[in-house]
Symmetry: C2
Subunit: 562 residues, 2 copies
């Protein structure tokens, strides 16, 4: 007789309870074809479950929706119901939700409509806009499990904690003040330390464009839900790529801001208090304009008055305008803007779809007349080794503690080791110095490019892969170095969708390997399985360059998506 | 026969070598009266060694000197020579210098004069202004010992390091680019972790206003030198009060900015890499206007392009102007500005001179019609305990390592314990969370005062002691909590001179004790010994409020010094 571990009944009940919260009218009755038969459930597949009006509403981006909901053209209730419905369908297709609170959302939307009716103006710039949240944010009346079975029925693992069910994270408070409608929380890998989204509650979240593949992680539910247009935009977190990986795996835009811009106060986290590399919050959406809307809206709430780690740095319209002016001038004189490109990091050379995505961007920029120099930075191997050390400072103790609450095992995709020795204060101080010295080297290298750009400035941005592969084959995520080096540097990075893997074009050809990891990565490429997966690039800038990177991300995204 | 420890000859030779660098024409020939006979060596005492022209030059503040040197009215060489001479005298009176490089300074000044002659404009806003530096900054051609005997003939304790004698700290590079003239480095306590300035090289730096007392620490040499007008302004560092303590002990202005404004890159430090509380750099000077000049000048160099820990936060003229406007409006309508006052922290009640200094400020503000509310913050005992834990994360290992290089013992004034167990990663993470939670509590308390001020805003600034006592009797510094809680909060704090201890007025009267430490502190008060010691206050504001606090510090300083 087969036996199950004791935590499994609890996990299964939680999974079922999430599903049960979806109204029966929105439950899919017919069987969903297996992934092998039907990879792509976006577009016409998901549309079959929706009304034309629901499709009209949900297929606009957040920016365009907000234009309608903040002007009273569309009612918050109608927009919210449409997204609740589409999110419900999305969850049934790819397993992307942890928490569903549609009733509360519709009630909130009703109040927003009443507010608008009374004041003839919106509550804030996100009035009536549904926003999804990674399951690290506390929302009143709703649980936060962060994928841990041991957090079910508790507050961050604590039983009988007074905050349970009533506490809200600072970002949640601000989103409500801005007029956003909160309606669901999305799936994450337990521990958060994984580029795929897998946990013992909802199991595995798949990629809506190709369900044989991963939706990415750790903000994977966000990526999958937004790709299915079950949300116009949402907030994830990123300590090593966890916003950018799901964004790029799902053909979306996403930003990893530098630390201190979006308030983390009161959100659940892994390894809380590890402050060598801080996790940061960033939005994901289907357009760069939507990211700007969300980012700017949050800053308008002055998070630095409510979060001790937030910086007093409002949205800098002057930088936004200067960058827009540069972009406009560069239409006449393309030498006004200069980029760099890093085709690989010397650790793992990208698979053909990613190399092609980069090539598309590079050729487009060059055809327009922009200078694109080669990026030859300080060793990324050094960065990768440092990051691996930093993720393991506590020897896995924090993750183990939370896994042990239920007795569950970590997924094999978790990149942090368990039961290693902890580092001591002196060892951690040494790591902090090594990190700072690496940042200084990189900074000096950045400055040195002023000699090469022809603009009189260093490069305006650097293009590189966001991962060695498109949306990855489950368990094949071998190298997070393309995203995590930017966490080490605390640089701003925007992910830009470019193209999709195409088996006829993206043929793997024999080549030399630069590392053993590179060889394993190469062998993991399967043109047929990857076929159809979104493939994008990263654009990064220096620390605290969010205004500039969002505008340049919009520019480059606009070029390559034409 | 008396034996000396093996490091003593090295230390004495270093001490003598610093003295020998002073030209013989500037050596004081006659005996200097002992402190018991002559406490105060400022004013007419030091003036006797100087020419009237040297007195004229050196008794202006940095702001006024820069007005003359940046317009060509005064030559950089003449100004530099005057300060070199006065610094040389100051050192012979109170032991305040570690490094003397007058020849290089005069050569630099000569180049600046040539630059001005050629371009008819200054190199930068500090053109021709002599600036002193705490002995943590590396200056080419000069040693950095930071008070450690084991650092003599080495680079931060490393023998045969290629940086020795050639490397310069980022701030030094920026000061040179601004036109400042560097000419000496000032004394510090070995380990830096002390509110007094004592080390085995130059022994003890005394307070120029009362040589029975301490000049403060750890930027003690700065405080003593500037008080003697041997420097118009200088830069110290502060992880627990090390800029503010010497500023307040010497009747000066000093600012502890929030972390990330003034570049620390490339400066020597204690416990480098401990990043729970970062040491910060701040200027000391005899006027608030001089602090503004120095602070603003450094920011004009865009330190965030050269220091990975510096924030992209230029001098915010809008905040400066808004604050100046508030101050001006408050002349007509004093309710426009509101302050809070914290007379004690519940750990150690201030001695009479400090209580009186606070009373003077409070009464002045109230007489002008400003609202001054009582500050009843979250427990400062909690803050003090947290800070003590943070200073000891490595169990004293870093300090011990550097002391062991020579075999010297730490001074009894060092506040960090040696040879305790190190904290582990999980314990440090817990401390970081505790710190953040305390910051959040304090922030929420700050916000709550909007209900009490009548301005519609929270308080504009908070006044409190900078120490329980005036310039302290050696070995009697028992409680650094009045400064260090602001390092824990990462708040901006400006020290403002107010008055001097006066034995006839500042009489200790029996009272109840709030803690055992309070009782010891009370018993350490001796009205006669403290007589004449400078007594000032702290004005603090939220994190990253340097522009506002410098303007308000100027305002309050101007009121109380009238």
């Amino acid at each position: 007789m087969m036996t199950f571990p004791p935590w499994k009944a609890l996990a299964d009940a939680k999974c079922q309870s999430t599903l049960n919260t979806i109204p029966s009218k929105w439950r899919i009755q017919e069987p969903i074809p297996p992934a092998a038969e039907l990879r792509d459930v976006t577009g016409s597949y998901i549309q079959q479950f929706l009304t034309p009006r629901e499709i009209e509403i949900t297929e606009l981006d957040a920016f365009d929706i907000a234009e309608k909901t903040t002007t009273g053209e569309w009612a918050a209730v109608e927009v919210t119901e449409a997204f609740c419905h589409r999110a419900a369908i999305a969850h049934q297709l790819v397993n992307c939700l942890h928490e569903v609170f549609f009733d509360a959302a519709i009630e909130d939307a009703r109040k927003l409509d009443a507010y608008f009716a009374q004041h003839r103006q919106p509550l804030g710039p996100l009035h009536g806009l549904p926003i999804s949240l990674k399951d690290q944010f506390h929302v009143k009346g709703v649980e936060t499990t962060m994928g841990y079975v041991g957090w079910i029925g508790a507050f961050q693992g604590l039983k009988n904690d007074a905050r349970q069910g009533v506490f809200e994270s600072e970002l949640v408070r601000e989103l409500r003040a801005l007029g956003a409608v909160l309606y669901c929380k999305t799936s994450v890998p337990a521990t958060l330390m994984s580029g795929e989204t897998v946990n013992n509650i909802i199991t595995y979240t798949t990629n809506p464009k190709n369900r044989l593949l991963s939706c990415g992680g750790s903000s994977g539910g966000e990526g999958a839900l937004i790709a299915l247009k079950g949300s116009p935009g949402g907030f994830g977190t990123d300590i090593g790529g966890s916003v950018r990986i799901p964004a790029v795996f799902n053909g979306l835009f996403g930003i990893r801001p530098s630390s201190g811009r979006i308030p983390y106060e009161g959100a659940a986290n892994s390894m809380d208090g590890q402050n060598t590399i801080l996790s940061v919050i960033g939005p994901l959406a289907s357009s760069a304009g939507s990211l700007q809307l969300l980012f700017k809206a949050v800053l308008s709430q002055q998070p630095w008055l409510y979060d001790p780690l937030a910086l007093e740095l409002p949205w800098r319209s002057d930088i936004e305008q200067e960058t827009r002016a540069l972009v406009e001038q560069s239409a006449k004189d393309p030498s006004k803007l200069a980029f760099a490109i890093m085709k690989d990091d010397g650790v793992a050379i990208p698979h053909p779809p990613i190399a092609r995505a980069l090539e598309i961007v590079e050729q487009t920029l060059k055809r327009l007349g922009h200078r694109v120099i080669e990026w030859t930075p300080p060793s990324h191997t050094t960065a990768y080794e440092l990051i691996s050390t930093i993720y393991n400072l506590d020897g896995g103790a924090d993750l183990q503690y939370h896994l042990d609450l239920s007795g569950e095992d970590p997924a094999e995709q978790v990149i942090v080791s368990q039961k290693l020795p902890q580092k001591t204060a002196i060892e951690i101080a040494k790591v902090n110095v090594d990190k700072r010295e690496y940042q200084k080297l990189y900074m000096d290298y950045w400055n040195s490019t002023a000699e090469l750009t022809g603009t009189g400035r260093p490069v305006d941005g650097v293009l590189c892969p966001a991962a060695p592969h498109a949306a990855v084959i489950p368990t094949q995520y071998l190298h997070v170095g393309y995203t995590s080096f930017l966490n080490l540097l605390d640089y701003t990075s925007v992910v830009i969708p470019v193209t999709h893997a195409a088996k006829d074009v993206d043929v793997g050809r024999p080549r030399e390997f630069v590392t053993e990891l590179d060889e394993r990565s190469f062998k993991g490429y399967d043109a047929d399985v990857y076929d159809g997966a979104p493939a994008g690039v990263q654009l990064f800038g220096r620390r605290l360059q969010e205004e500039k990177m969002l505008v340049l991300g919009e520019y480059i995204g606009g070029l390559t998506q034409k």
